[in-house]
């Protein structure tokens, strides 16, 4: 049966940010433009505002995180919101009811915005169903499903450094099966009308029917990187992997590691992005991660602005 999107209101404005899947290009551009507005031109400094003064944001992390949680916290502080950080280790017994109870309690504590990371796909959707109409939810990563703010900050970074998406060939390399980042990136790149989207990895690390998402699939890194303008490297998500997906030893780096040799197949000055944390010598040659075309640290800074943009947008939409 037809169901409306759980993250849009009746005027098609963002009510929660749960996934890129189902958004429009206008939604994305609105967020990217808003994020751009938080930078002081030329200096690259992020401004501070009192947009969310008096609001409380709960960072609800059921999985360990450093970068994402810190940048959400900084973003909230830049908007003058109070931040409540909760790191809840996801034990096998902390199932649905406790997640729901946690959320309802935080709601009772007058938190207006939840940032949630959880090991189960669909967790942010579940939380969005439980909260009252005055609370907004941002998905900061759920299982292997989605990590929309990461994809948005990647789009922001690509737009900043390379401009027009239609001219770009983009390759996503590595463990796409377990990657919520890759799924959100693919949807975002589609919406931004990227010239070509490629996925590179062994079949054991690629989800079924990936090509039906509009992606060209390659199993050979050199072939897949030929003529690309942007390389999105992924980390091997060993914490989510089952045994037997890859041979033991260093075959992964040998076949899918981004090295000077394989990088030479891409277009000159190909942009290299990585959601972090970078595992040097596992998926990427160490000095490449530090090269000028690798904008991995710029992504981190952009992440603050993107999260400020999403937070302020959701709170605006909630009030109007």
């Amino acid at each position: 049966m037809y169901q409306t999107s759980p993250q849009l209101d009746k005027n098609n404005r963002l009510r929660h940010l749960l996934t890129i899947d189902g958004l429009t290009r206008e939604h994305i551009v609105e967020i990217l433009d808003k994020a751009e507005g938080f930078f002081i031109p030329k200096s690259g400094q992020i401004i501070q505002t009192d947009t969310l003064q008096g609001k409380t944001i709960a960072n609800l992390f059921f999985e360990p995180s450093t970068r994402t949680r810190s940048t959400f916290q900084l973003a909230a502080q830049n908007l003058s919101a109070s931040v409540l950080n909760l790191n809840i280790s996801h034990s096998s017994t902390s199932k649905g009811e406790s997640l729901r109870d946690t959320v309802l309690n935080l709601q009772a504590m007058q938190c207006q915005l939840f940032v949630i990371r959880h090991g189960s796909s669909g967790a942010a959707h579940f939380v969005a169903q439980q909260v009252n109409p005055f609370v907004a939810v941002i998905n900061a990563g759920d299982g292997c499903h989605a990590h929309p703010t990461q994809a948005l900050l990647d789009m922001f970074t690509i737009r900043k450094h390379r401009g027009d998406f239609q001219k770009l060939r983009v390759a996503i390399v590595g463990d796409i099966l377990h990657s919520r980042v890759a799924r959100s990136q693919i949807h975002a790149l589609q919406l931004m009308r990227a010239g070509e989207i490629r996925a590179i990895g062994p079949k054991t690390l690629l989800p079924a029917h990936l090509e039906q998402l509009g992606v060209k699939v390659f199993h050979d890194l050199s072939q897949g990187l030929q003529g690309v303008d942007v390389i999105m490297m992924l980390r091997l998500q060993t914490e989510r992997m089952q045994k037997g997906l890859l041979p033991k030893g260093n075959s992964y780096y040998r076949l899918y590691g981004l090295t000077s040799e394989t990088l030479a197949m891409a277009n000159p000055n190909a942009l290299i992005i990585h959601p972090g944390p970078v595992n040097r010598g596992v998926e990427i040659q160490s000095d490449i991660a530090d090269s000028p075309n690798a904008v991995i640290l710029d992504q981190v800074t952009n992440g603050i602005a993107i999260r400020m943009a999403v937070m302020s947008l959701l709170m605006e939409n909630r009030l109007s």
């Binding site: 649905g96 796909s121 669909g122 579940f126 299982g143 499903h145 079924a208 990936l210």
Partner: protein, 422 residues
């Protein structure tokens, strides 16, 4: 008690009967089908004008126990089934306690009563369903078990499985198989396809079902055992069954009613009520399952009823307990397919009455003279909207909320007793 049912459209697939006429019931049996004999003086007359008079439905896979510690008792779920026209329940052995001993089989049967559907336990194929020792199958059979199955705990040791089938074949016992390869299904949650890819849910490939079907069919052939496959979910599995039937193997098969309606597309918003086992598969699989009755690959439709309490589905999709509450929507969903001309009425009726009776050797599913008077009367043209408060089952875990469905059961008779009247 003598009961007359008058002017109803009487449909009995076992006798290829479909006409407007009367039925006389006496001493719990069908006394007569046709204009009432002059010397028949009923104590109750039911006017079935504009209604359908059908054999009571036989649900070949129903778990009337609530699957959560503070759930309802079997009695309430069986009653819910009755109010939806189901007069016989075949119950897999994986409830609490596991039906792997005569005592446990009797314990289940003794929960039945005259005003409930007939309860038919299936016995565990192996002790505690652990897959390492054959249960005392003949003792279970002598104490009311109609078939034997390891339910949703597939036996991974094929040598053990072969022993089970050889043993069952020695006594002409029926095996029930829910095919799923434990390794391929592993920790999967949704059909391995585009939707699971989009949602980032661990997949259960189609081969988890088809490889299991192939394995079982080879052993069924070798052991020459009677077997029934339950809750099939894929087109390829149906082709395998059709091929086996053509070869002359003693096999039959069913699909769950919900799988004739829902597909992987229905999990798009992480509706935990669509977290089911086996998983909802492709649009093409659903279409093939519906066509399976005309082609003869499928024999029966089960409800796969598994009522859960409200907590069971209150979690992110993959952390919820799979299963749906299904008796309430069982017949209405079938009738919906008939009204949409996807399924022939005679195929629907046969799949929930006469075919299950034949496969499981249950004395019912027909309106033949002298047959047990298990009957339901349907108002086929009244629609109802599926809402929690309209469900008789204590399990509100239905994926069909807000669906508008045809068919209201106005009367149910078990053993000639009027046990439900609306």
């Amino acid at each position: 008690m003598k009961i007359a049912i008058k002017n109803g459209r009487v449909i009995d697939s076992a006798n290829h009967l479909d006409k407007i006429t009367d039925i006389a019931i006496d001493a719990g049996k069908i006394l007569h089908v046709g204009p009432l004999p002059a010397n028949f003086h009923p104590t109750k007359i039911i006017d079935a004008k504009n209604k359908w008079v059908l054999p009571g439905f036989i649900d070949v896979c129903c778990r009337p126990q609530m699957q959560h510690p503070h759930g309802s008792i079997l009695h309430e779920e069986a009653l819910a089934a009755l109010k939806r026209g189901i007069t016989s329940l075949c119950i897999p052995p994986d409830g609490e306690p596991i039906v792997d001993s005569s005592a446990n089989a009797l314990r289940l049967i003794q929960q039945g009563s005259l005003d409930l559907p007939h309860l038919y336990p299936m016995g565990a194929l192996t002790t505690q369903l652990a897959g390492d020792a054959i249960a005392d199958l003949t003792a279970l059979a002598n104490n009311g078990c109609i078939a034997f199955t390891n339910a949703q705990k597939p036996i991974t040791d094929l040598r053990m499985l072969r022993y089970c089938y050889d043993y069952a074949a020695s006594f002409d016992l029926l095996i029930v198989i829910q095919p799923q390869d434990a390794w391929l299904a592993n920790s999967g949650i949704a059909h391995e396809g585009l939707m699971a890819t989009r949602l980032g849910l661990p997949g259960i490939p189609e081969t988890a079902e088809t490889i299991a079907v192939a394995e079982h069919l080879l052993l069924i052939e070798q052991c020459n055992v009677r077997a029934h496959f339950t809750c099939l979910s894929s087109q390829h599995a149906l082709q395998q069954i059709a091929h086996a039937k053509a070869q002359g193997l003693k096999v039959s098969a069913d699909a769950a009613m919900h799988s004739l309606h829902l597909t992987e597309m229905d999990i798009a918003t992480f509706d935990a009520n669509c977290h089911l086992y086996p998983p909802l598969r492709r649009v093409s699989d659903r279409a093939a399952l519906v066509q399976g009755f005309a082609s003869g690959a499928l024999d029966a439709i089960c409800s796969d009823h598994r009522p859960l309490d409200s907590i069971a589905k209150l979690a992110p999709f993959g952390d919820t307990i799979p299963g749906l509450s299904a008796v309430d929507t069982f017949f209405s969903l079938g009738l919906h397919l008939v009204k949409e001309k996807q399924l022939a009425l005679e195929h629907l009726i046969a799949a929930i009455t006469s075919r299950p009776a034949e496969i499981f050797n249950i004395p019912g599913g027909t309106l033949s003279l002298g047959a047990r008077a298990d009957i339901c009367i349907i108002d086929p043209d009244t629609y109802w909207v599926v809402q929690e408060e309209k469900l008789f089952s204590k399990g509100k875990n239905t994926p069909f909320k807000r669906w508008e469905l045809p068919g209201i059961v106005t009367h149910t008779l078990v053993n000639g007793n009027l046990v439900h009247e609306r």
